[in-house]
């Protein structure tokens, strides 16, 4: 009798222990951002309007039509006077880059950011268990991840992943890899390094859809430290709530919206199709459909469903709204109920405007993205982290706030994730924030591009054959 009691009690306690372990395991699977460091290139790499004009004029293949097109693009780009370009542009060598240029551009970036990041957090490179590097347009042997491991003498059993060609949404994909690894392995520290290599990707031809890419991208990068260690969860900044990836590669028009290819004369460039905005909108809508139920409170979802039902019952919508509705679909759902801050990929002014319109966001919400575009340009995958840095520098992030990150990429992908702020980030100084030196000047009074003033006369020029750049403009 006693033996049986003893046995049963042993079994029950074992069962309780197992169940408690399963529940406890979940706490070890959270993905926290410990810290992040964006890269501010040195000031001798700043690209002013004057200098952009010079670079464009160096391309001997461009004619009046292309100048007009470029003027329109640059003026409406929302990019300011203080963005950065790779060093070889300043040496006039953008049309004949070497492998070494691309590698030194990357070296400058990762040596600076990773050093600052590790020093601030008092970690050594041998503490890192997972390294994910994503740089879309650079492919080298050994990979960039191997370069980083070599430079910092990281451990032999490190898990390394080197992603390329995944476009501007690759940051979120890297976080996805880290999130999945954290679910299986306990007590790990991960480093995500994201950047873009511009040195070897200057388009030297005159195909209009390809020169656009020249004007938009700028140098920048970010290193992010993530962990699932419970001991560090108190020091963490953000916790990942959910992550959704949408891939529209199956559709021909989405796939061909952004393609790297050769033009008629064999010069390589990235072709941005006119259907890009449509493809982006479609992917965005699909992504929202999946992530919205995960992040908004039930009350808001109910209200939205009711309003949809009522609209359907009422019949056709009023005529006035059709024109506006064609431009971008209004979500009709209030995202502010579940999200406090919006980190939008700074793909360009049009992207930010479109997202602002469809999510019904105010200028206050779009300010971080617009200012990042103005100050740093489109730094591709790392742009999200600059936007986050702006919010942090402006002391907007309080404990419990939710941040929504959304990015787009070639293929066509739309990836988004939601972070929850773990501790108050609006007190004290945010060390190492790349905005620290200039945050007080933002938002500036006006962000009109001086390009218009300097080169606006091109719009009046009509004669293609005898068109020559006026000496005083150079």
């Amino acid at each position: 009798m006693d033996l049986l009691c003893l046995l049963s009690s042993l079994l029950i306690s074992y069962l309780i222990f197992k169940i408690w372990k399963r529940i406890d395991c979940k706490r070890d699977q959270n993905c926290y951002i410990l810290d992040y460091q964006c890269h501010k290139p040195s000031d001798d790499r700043m690209v002013s309007t004057q200098f952009s004009g010079e670079i464009i004029l160096r391309n001997k293949h461009l004619r009046l039509n292309e100048y007009k097109f470029l003027l329109k693009a640059i003026v409406s780009s929302g990019i300011g006077e203080q963005t950065y370009a790779p060093r070889l542009f300043f040496e006039g060598r953008e049309e004949c880059p070497t492998q070494q240029d691309a590698l030194s551009e990357m070296e400058e970036f990762y040596i600076d950011t990773i050093k600052k990041l590790l020093e601030r957090n008092k970690l050594s490179p041998t503490d890192i268990d997972v390294l994910v590097v994503n740089v879309a347009m650079l492919n080298s042997a050994p990979s960039l991840s191997a370069r980083i491991v070599n430079h910092y003498k990281m451990r032999e059993d490190i898990k390394v992943f080197n992603l390329t060609a995944m476009g501007c949404s690759a940051s979120v994909i890297s976080v996805d890899i880290v999130k999945n690894i954290f679910k299986t392995y306990k007590n790990k520290l991960a480093l995500v390094v994201t950047s873009e290599s511009l040195s070897q990707n200057w388009y030297s031809g005159n195909n209009r859809s390809m020169i656009l890419a020249n004007c938009l991208f700028r140098s920048g990068g970010c290193a992010v430290l993530l962990t699932n260690k419970r001991s560090l969860s108190g020091k963490a900044m953000f916790k990942l709530k959910c992550l959704v990836r949408t891939h529209h590669g199956a559709r021909e028009d989405s796939y061909n919206a952004c393609v790297q290819k050769e033009d008629e004369l064999g010069r390589v460039g990235i072709h941005l199709d006119k259907t890009l905005p449509k493809a982006a909108t479609r992917a965005f809508v699909d992504n929202l459909k999946v992530i919205t139920p995960k992040i908004l409170p039930v009350t808001e979802l109910f209200r939205f469903m009711l309003s949809l039902l009522l609209k359907k019952l009422r019949g056709n919508p009023s005529k006035g709204s059709t024109a506006v509705a064609q431009a971008a679909p209004k979500a009709g759902i209030n995202f502010k109920t579940g999200i406090d801050h919006f980190c939008i990929h700074t793909g360009g002014k049009a992207v930010i405007d479109a997202i602002g319109y469809s999510l019904d966001l105010s200028e206050y919400d779009l300010e971080p993205a617009r200012m990042t575009l103005h100050r740093f340009g489109n730094t591709s995958a790392s742009s999200l982290w600059y936007v986050l840095g702006y919010m942090e520098a402006k002391k907007r992030l309080r404990r419990g706030d939710r941040v929504f990150m959304i990015s787009f990429g070639a293929g066509f992908k739309c990836n988004s994730c939601v972070w929850e702020v773990v501790r108050d980030l609006n007190v004290g100084e945010s060390l190492g924030n790349v905005w620290n030196h200039c945050i007080d000047q933002y938002p500036p009074q006006s962000i009109v591009n001086p390009f218009l003033e300097k080169y606006g006369w091109i719009r009046e020029e009509d004669d293609h054959d005898t068109f020559k750049i006026r000496e005083e403009a150079m």
Partner: protein, 497 residues
């Protein structure tokens, strides 16, 4: 011959038996221990006699509630235990790309093209010829169509079409073999070291097969010839997190954009060795796939020697003096590969070696390090742990070096050598061609363990251990189906050209 020392021979035979006996003893230690215990219990029972046993039984007072509770608890706990075990990851099937006959590059073609393209540097042509003679490659390896032009036309379009040719053919074959529907793929990983256009190759696959929009796709690149196993590692980690999913891995190397057009010797080497090839692999963690899966993934160990400068610079992509880009292979590649392998073995050894070998290794380690005895380092006998070996067909020297280091016989490395001969160095997909060779020879039986070892730039050494799930019949179609009867061939040291 007559001076062959007879006593040594017989003593070594005796030693062999001693070693066998020792291995048997240590490996079956627990079961050997169990036998005397059971014997004692049996003797006790017999001594007690049937009436006493019945008395003990009756005195236990079985209450129906208690019986039900305890049996319920036992069942519940065993369910919880089984559910919390890490999910087993299976390799359902894989298919390798067989290049068309029109892409073949026999030695004569290669040398003729080489003479025409490098007509200004006869020394480089001479060098390439010497490499080809000693390379271990055969006459049926293939290069992509763009490289057959004189001079080669490595445009981005050509590279894309090579990618489409190799990847789509392999994937079509995989779909046919497994009956998988494209829309059922949950995870897609593509690894190609030296070509990554925008949109990525993974996006290209998603576009061609109209895969789902919530697919998890990853495009790994720059990771060298070991990237295949890195993709398997990533797939395994993802399959642990997502229940009831499958993952498709595409491993390839696109040769078109990476043909070296200069005449720096160390950089001409890859031109002679790398050939066209690709493999598509289906992995799954679904229970329903357990019966038809070919292999089960047991272990995967990754070793990264990037921290050591010499290892890091041994496979390096750089521009030569004329600005032409190519891959520089350093002269100490073999030594570095050996070291990386040693590091990898130290981690994988304890996971796979039987207890007897581990004990011996431990004893020899203690003897050497602590007591400073002058023993030779004991190399564990990996032949006890594995039945088949798939060594990355990086080049003849790599295979020779590994054969020596691991003390493998000719039959063990046969798959690697024959793959190098028939297909050349197809980079990350070579391991799958080798596995296919072993299957085509009908050597793969249920329960066999396979060890795949791959090296990559950086310097990485990754190894995977698979266990065969079911005896595999010789495949009727596949890259080896038309030529398996001719293999194995004898590959001479030098093929005179």
């Amino acid at each position: 011959m007559s001076q062959a020392p007879m006593p040594d021979f017989s003593s070594s035979v005796k030693l062999k038996y001693v070693k066998l006996g020792y291995q048997y003893l240590v490996n079956h230690f627990l079961s050997l221990l169990l036998i005397p215990i059971m014997a004692i219990i049996a003797v006790e029972l017999l001594r007690m006699g049937p009436e006493e046993i019945l008395n003990v039984w009756n005195s236990l007072h079985f209450d129906i509630v208690q019986v039900l509770c305890s049996s319920f608890l036992v069942i519940f706990i065993s369910t919880v235990y089984f559910m919390s075990k890490p999910r087993t990851v299976y390799l359902v099937d894989y298919s390798c790309y067989k290049p068309p006959v029109t892409c073949r590059v026999p030695f004569a073609t290669f040398m003729e093209h080489s003479r025409l393209i490098l007509k200004d540097s006869p020394k480089s042509v001479e060098f390439q010829m010497r490499i080809l003679e000693r390379s271990g490659l055969g006459e049926e390896t293939c290069l992509p169509p763009a490289i057959h032009y004189i001079p080669p036309t490595p445009t981005m379009d050509e590279a894309r079409s090579e990618a489409q040719m190799v990847i789509f053919t392999a994937m079509d074959d995989l779909f046919k073999k497994t009956g998988l529907l494209p829309k059922d793929i949950d995870i897609l990983i593509v690894n190609c070291s030296l070509f990554s256009p925008t949109p990525s190759l993974s996006a290209m696959v998603i576009n061609k097969y109209k895969l789902r929009s919530n697919i998890k796709s990853f495009n790994l690149s720059g990771m060298g010839c070991s990237a295949g196993l890195i993709s398997v590692d990533l797939a395994r980690d993802l399959l642990q997190v997502h229940p009831n999913s499958n993952a498709v891995i595409v491993s390839t190397e696109i040769i078109t954009p990476n043909y070296y057009k200069g005449n720096e010797r160390a950089m001409l080497l890859p031109n002679c060795l790398f050939r066209m090839g690709s493999a598509a692999i289906l992995m799954s963690n679904r229970r329903s796939d357990r019966w038809r899966a070919k292999y089960k993934l047991c272990h995967l160990v990754r070793t990264h020697r990037g921290a050591d400068d010499k290892s890091y610079y041994c496979v390096y992509e750089q521009e030569d003096r004329e600005g032409k880009i190519g891959i520089n292979l350093s002269k100490d590649l073999m030594a570095i590969a050996g070291e990386a392998l040693k590091a990898n073995i130290t981690t994988i050894g304890p996971l796979v070696l039987p207890a007897s070998e581990q004990l011996l290794f431990l004893l020899s380690l203690i003897g050497r390090k602590i007591f400073n005895l002058k023993w030779k380092p004991y190399i564990p006998d990996f032949k006890l742990a594995f039945e088949h070996f798939c060594i990355h067909a990086g080049g003849r020297a790599v295979i020779d070096e590994l054969q020596k280091n691991l003390q493998l016989s000719g039959e063990h490395v046969e798959a690697s050598r024959m793959t190098l001969h028939r297909f050349g160095n197809t980079s990350s997909s070579s391991l799958w061609y080798e596995l296919c060779y072993i299957e085509s020879k009908g050597r793969m039986r249920r329960g066999d363990r396979v060890w795949q070892i791959a090296f990559g730039s950086g310097f990485k050494c990754n190894s995977a251990v698979w266990k065969c799930n079911r005896t595999i019949k010789t495949p009727k179609d596949g890259p080896w189906s038309d030529c398996i009867d001719r293999y194995p061939v004898f590959i001479p040291e030098v093929v005179k050209l």
